[in-house]
Subunit: 414 residues, 2 copies
């Protein structure tokens, strides 16, 4: 018998209990031992559940119970999750978490404590929900150099963009629908401003390259400025707009990392990742492109990833510590605006042709796009291989000569 405790009985926590109950037999077979939840920490009351007697409001009950060998942290947030997880690891308990904020902000520190105490700190569920990605990157792709990772890492924004693309809903309407369906929080800023995707690409970057990257170091743009006109230009170009988190190892040993909306070609495997799904592309030097695709969030997908980690902990309690990375180092993250990409630019002048002609004087070789329903005065074009820095210098000059810049969106090469 292996005893575990669960910190937090929200959506994921109750899902963990559900998965453990409904798959009791098969889980015991796979773990070689029965897994029993002994304590559940939550400040709220949950009367009437078959396991109501397991609740406690006192974390010390868990910390000081020597029978509990694995603690599941599914509270979310940094405080008190960080203190609790740290204390568990220091008291000889392995920890499994789905908390991406915790891993993105405190991963290096917690992994070091886990290593020191010969324990596991596992977090498969923190990226991609039920889509296995942490373990494949760390194990299966061990014999590869990972050149880059690019992914649709946030289901909420992908749902909103899909509605904008397929049903021509405005951003505001699509967000409201996402909230009605429970895909977006009442305060949706962590999703739509890109912070959630940023945490996930930080975790993947830290794992793939062995050095912690903190969210504050990462250029992050959300999708709040994306318009239906942008969507139509993406279609005219031959693709769709997706919120992409990406990291790439440069020859200099630095990394290029960021989160921003991008045009993605219709031929890309990422283009077909719609609705609340996540898709993550890993480019290995030996394997080529490997794509992982599935439901990125939700109660049961996330809970099943947590339980898989628990099984792993229980099975290999004696020695396992396969996840590890070093703390951050200075000058490791290259400024995001140095890397050139193709970029779409959306402008407005007195009339479309003259606006484009003016733009062309600053961006020679620009390729014009004509969107469905283009309005008089509006124009869109693609500039090839320009850095954010250069673009940031030129766009104000374009405005200075009478052409209004409505926006610009990077174009991916995945």
């Amino acid at each position: 018998m292996a005893y575990i405790a669960v910190l937090g009985h929200g959506v994921v926590g109750s899902g963990v209990l559900e998965v453990l109950m409904t798959h009791k037999g098969s889980i015991a077979r796979r773990a070689d031992v029965e897994i029993k939840v002994k304590h559940i920490l939550d400040l709220r009351e949950f009367p009437g559940l078959p396991y109501s007697h397991l609740f406690t409001k006192d974390f010390d009950v868990i910390l000081n119970d020597p029978e509990v060998t694995v603690v599941v942290e599914v509270m979310g947030g940094l405080d008190p999750a960080f203190q609790y997880v740290k204390a568990c690891l220091e008291h000889g308990k392995s920890v499994v978490t789905s908390n991406k904020e915790l891993v993105a902000e405190k991963g290096a520190e917690l992994l070091a404590i886990a290593k020191e105490n010969n324990l596991n700190f596992l977090f498969e569920a923190s990226v991609g929900g039920g889509v296995p990605i942490i373990r494949p990157i760390s194990q299966c792709l061990a014999a590869n150099e990972v050149g880059e990772i690019a992914g649709i890492l946030n289901g909420t924004t992908n749902f909103i963009l899909t509605k904008m693309i397929r049903e021509h809903m405005s951003f505001a309407d699509a967000l409201q629908l996402a909230q009605q369906l429970g895909y977006a929080e009442r305060d949706p800023s962590a999703d739509v401003e890109g912070a959630d995707a940023c945490r996930k690409i930080c975790i993947l970057a830290s794992l793939a390259y062995g050095t912690h990257v903190y969210p504050r170091e990462v250029h992050t743009e959300g999708i709040t400025k994306i318009t239906l006109e942008d969507v139509a230009y993406a279609e005219a170009w031959g693709g769709v707009i997706k919120l992409i988190g990406q990291v790439k190892m440069l020859e200099s040993g630095k990394i290029h990392i960021g989160v921003c909306p991008m045009f993605v070609s219709r031929d890309s495997q990422l283009a077909g990742v719609d609705d609340v799904f996540n898709g993550i592309l890993v480019r290995g030097d030996a394997t080529g492109d490997v794509v992982f695709y599935g439901k990125g969030a939700g109660k049961l997908p996330t809970a099943s990833a947590v339980v898989a980690d628990v099984i792993d902990c229980v099975k290999h309690f004696a020695k396992r510590k396969y996840l590890y990375w070093e703390d951050a180092k200075p000058d490791y993250v290259e400024p995001f605006d140095v890397m050139p990409t193709d970029v779409f630019v959306h402008i407005q002048g007195k009339n479309s042709d003259s606006a484009f002609d003016t733009a062309e004087t600053l961006f020679p070789g620009a390729v014009r796009l004509i969107r469905k329903g283009e309005k008089e005065g509006e124009a869109g074009f693609v500039v090839s291989q320009i850095s954010g820095r250069e673009l940031g210098e030129k766009l104000p000059r374009l405005e200075a000569i009478g052409v209004k810049v409505l926006g610009s969106i990077r174009i991916s090469d995945y």
Copy 2:
């Protein structure tokens, strides 16, 4: 230092040496120990290689070397691979293989020997080449009931079908091109007749449901009868033709398993898996659909999967045995032609309309498809939810009343 031996220096074997050399440092870091190849078994001579001195023609040199703890079998075929692998496991050596025939035919027996001797028998590379699938199914999805698995498991046939779909090449021309490019063997039958895909779905089924399924028990059709007319009808229906290996757990506790060409909807994540890529969809009760996509074959992708397994063996040599399934049991595989699916039927009569009208009397509710370039006398239609058995009874009756049946293709619901 961990010493390994490699059986076979063909495409995959030489790739394993290459990956081990080019990623020496990162592999040592991940394995916690340096991995050194001590012997390479091959009957051929390979002078002039930096590791030419490692070759031996005598298997017993490897078997009797107590320093060798892990043996990599990349010879292919059953004889002598099976005898060698069995002997290694009986002599205390863990084994890593990319040999799908070996795993599909002898998996249960070898896993039992490995278990008995507390050793690893790992075969990530046997399915999906560099795409991680064995480990995700066995570990990450441990807390799921896997309802079904469906995949494009053979890169050669997928390349041929892609050429037929995109460039309207005939089957024969596309096969010839695949041979010229080295994607197909001179004798392509194992690929185009479906045997290769069959072995892979057997391995996945054995792994997912814990009971060995032998290739001889599995209904297997290849793509040799697929015509450009079929491709055009698939397009008219809204999809593409793919060679699909599938397995599904039924409520009866039996499995539905088979390999056959199918219409796949353009909206399916499998529809976009083109060229030599593989894509595998795993439908879990908690995770929903998870799709794994990447290069299914090739020297380096396969070699990198082999080396990842070697790292795992070396790292967990003392105790690991996470893969296991029981030997086959009687009446476990449901006859393939019992399960109803939608089916496309292609017919020929005196004229198209009358041929379809005649067919409709036998298949009430049939939905007609009109393909681009349809010829006089030809017709195509979809029958919903009909078993292979019923179809097999009705098609001869259709011929008896004067309508020639040119072919029929199942329609998938993935």
